[in-house]
């Protein structure tokens, strides 16, 4: 794949988006020849989706989900000397295209004609975890938003049927938040990484099956 050419394509997409959204496009990240991340403000979340669908050709829907950037207060549960439990309330490190807050909603669509995808992100302020629904953009977002709602406690404004999709009705808490503890791990500690077996291909000796190939 020609990295330079696709790079230009993706930059063009960002430029188009910036034309239409103006300052509402807060950040973006391009991995040349591979992928594209764009972060917008909360006000234009639905509009950005519409633009991506109607004007940029991202017609096929992939998913809507969210991410909690808080470092886990419980460590990774790996109970191992190799990866010591980090301090609680460490600094929030966000990913591509940046981020200002703990919760970020991101969605992805791809373009059948250009053979590329786009990840749109939006920051949610901690005191108001709500964002406009994407159902008008892609009808399939319905269930994804229900999932994100129960997993993170995010409200999708305008969602017609905001009930739990996976969890039992009286389930308490939002499991995918980083501060949701997995109780079993506290009752019974994970045996941890006892031993790391040597990787089989490490020696990279020539295969004995070459004759067959």
């Amino acid at each position: 794949m020609d990295a330079v050419a696709t790079d230009a394509e993706r930059e063009q997409i960002v430029a188009d988006l910036r034309d239409r959204l103006g300052d509402a496009l807060v950040g973006f990240h391009i991995r040349p020849g591979d992928d594209l991340w764009v972060r917008v403000t909360r006000d234009v979340w639905q509009e950005a989706g519409m633009i991506a669908r109607d004007h940029l050709g991202f017609r096929a829907f992939e998913f809507v989900s969210a991410i909690d950037w808080l470092p886990s207060p419980f460590g990774k549960g790996e109970d191992s000397s190799l990866d010591p439990i980090p301090q609680v309330a460490g600094d929030i490190v966000t990913g591509y295209a940046g981020g200002d807050t703990r919760f970020q909603v991101f969605a992805r669509a791809h373009s059948l004609s250009q053979h590329m995808g786009i990840t749109l992100k939006v920051d949610l302020p901690d005191d108001d975890l709500s964002v406009a629904t994407w159902i008008p953009v892609f009808a399939g977002a319905n269930w994804h938003e229900r999932e994100a709602r129960e997993m993170f406690g995010i409200t999708f404004v305008g969602h017609p049927h905001p009930v739990n999709i996976y969890l039992p009705g009286q389930f308490e808490g939002h499991p995918l938040r980083k501060d949701f503890p997995l109780l079993s791990r506290h009752v019974k500690p994970w045996p941890g990484i006892v031993d790391i077996e040597p990787l089989p291909g490490g020696s990279s000796e020539p295969s004995s099956e070459e004759g067959e190939a």
Binding site: E62, L199, G201, S207
Partner: protein, 391 residues
């Protein structure tokens, strides 16, 4: 064995049973509300479809899932990368090998290593074999749901030949856990190539048999043609993928259009599409895809390169910071992993985009005004796997 604790347990169970009343708002004055599931033969496991009926006609239909929700996305956050592989091949339990691949590819992308060519070829071969094993079961299963019993037995019978090959290469019938970051666990055993070619012949015979027994049957056609039509625009709106999308006439196959890290672009094959978008089209497309997969595997077996099957990777796998999205064309459709790493031994966040979740989300749209038997036909033709919906 004490009676008291039993009663306590029962009390707990009964309190949980309150959940059985989810979606009671669905109940209205008119018509009959019927639950198909959670335990129902038509739902391959534990999907629950609440249908409101007028006579035998479906007025509206609402899937209720989560009965198989195992919390994958949370569990991946507390596992290391090698452990995650074990876990995620249980998402779509029929195409386990194919589940591992996109995750491994996403991790490899962030680590900026590439598996050696032999590993890529073997990955592609096993990927396609798991597709054959998966879809051949679909063929029998769809026939079973329409009432033809024998086809399902043939599917189970001939699928075993492929499972044998997967087992002899990887050691596992179902959950191979054969991928490693940077390559594979092991090389192929001796004589595997010839055996696989022999089993492909079996599968081709199976396809012929199914074309006569199921596809060519007038009753089957009467039951599936024109039933559950999904136009291409709706399919894209709901994010359908895989054979469901191609059966709606959209010429889109990630194997051809975005062959990340695997070698489909090295062989000659064609993408199967069908313009109708009905249940028959979905069945037909899948059946033809088995044949195409056989072709792909055969060509790949002929051109299998020599060399190492594992790249140089560090002993303890830590993936550098970053985000990566890798999707592949799995048996059920597009399966993608959005992997966020912050440099630890395990992922920071994994968003698993499974095919069935999106595929089934179209059910309320497509199941309006059909008859009860058609609901079963449509569900069977959309071909979902519960683990793939609920994760």
């Amino acid at each position: 064995m004490t009676a008291v604790s039993d009663r306590q347990k029962l009390a707990y169970v009964n309190s949980q049973a309150a959940d059985g009343r989810v979606n009671l708002e669905f109940e209205t004055e008119e018509g009959m509300t019927l639950n198909l599931g959670p335990q129902h033969p038509a739902t391959h496991g534990t999907l629950r479809i609440v249908v409101k009926l007028d006579g035998e006609q479906v007025l509206s239909c609402e899937p209720v899932m989560g009965y198989m929700h195992r919390g994958y996305e949370k569990l991946t956050e507390v596992r290391t990368y090698p452990q995650v592989t074990t876990l995620i091949n249980r998402i779509d339990w029929l195409g386990s090998f194919a589940n591992e691949v996109p995750f491994i590819l996403a991790a490899e992308k962030l680590m900026e290593i590439e598996a050696p060519p032999r590993a890529q070829w073997i990955r592609t071969i096993l990927f396609e074999l798991s597709r054959i094993a998966n879809i051949s079961l679909f063929v029998g299963d769809m026939a079973l749901h329409i009432g033809a019993m024998t086809a399902a037995f043939y599917a189970f019978r001939d699928r075993e030949f492929v499972l044998n090959q997967i087992e002899s290469a990887t050691g596992g019938r179902f959950h191979p856990n054969f991928n490693r970051i940077g390559g594979l666990k092991d090389d192929l055993p001796k004589g595997w190539v010839a055996d696989t070619k022999a089993s492909l012949e079996r599968i081709r015979d199976f396809c012929d048999e199914m074309e006569i027994l199921v596809e060519g049957n007038e009753i089957f056609q009467a039951r599936t043609r024109g039933i559950g039509v999904i136009p291409s625009e709706i399919a894209l709106q709901f994010g359908l993928s895989g054979a469901n999308l191609r059966a709606s006439g959209v010429d889109w196959d990630l194997r051809r259009d975005q062959p990340v890290g695997l070698v489909w672009d090295k062989v000659d094959w064609k993408v199967i599409t069908h313009p109708d978008g009905d249940s028959f089209a979905r069945f037909w497309v899948r059946l033809q895809e088995i044949r195409e997969s056989c072709n792909i595997v055969e060509q790949l077996l002929d051109g299998l390169p020599a060399g190492p099957y594992m790249a140089k990777v560090p002993r303890v796998i830590k993936v550098p910071e970053g985000e990566a999205w890798v999707a592949t064309e799995n048996p059920l459709g597009e399966m993608g992993y959005y992997l966020v790493s912050q440099g630890g031994l395990g992922p920071f966040r994994v968003k698993i985009r499974t095919a069935s979740f999106n595929n089934v989300s179209v059910v309320p749209w497509v199941c309006r005004g059909v008859y009860v038997p058609d609901v079963v036909t449509i569900l069977a033709s959309l071909y979902f796997i519960l683990g793939d919906i609920d994760r």
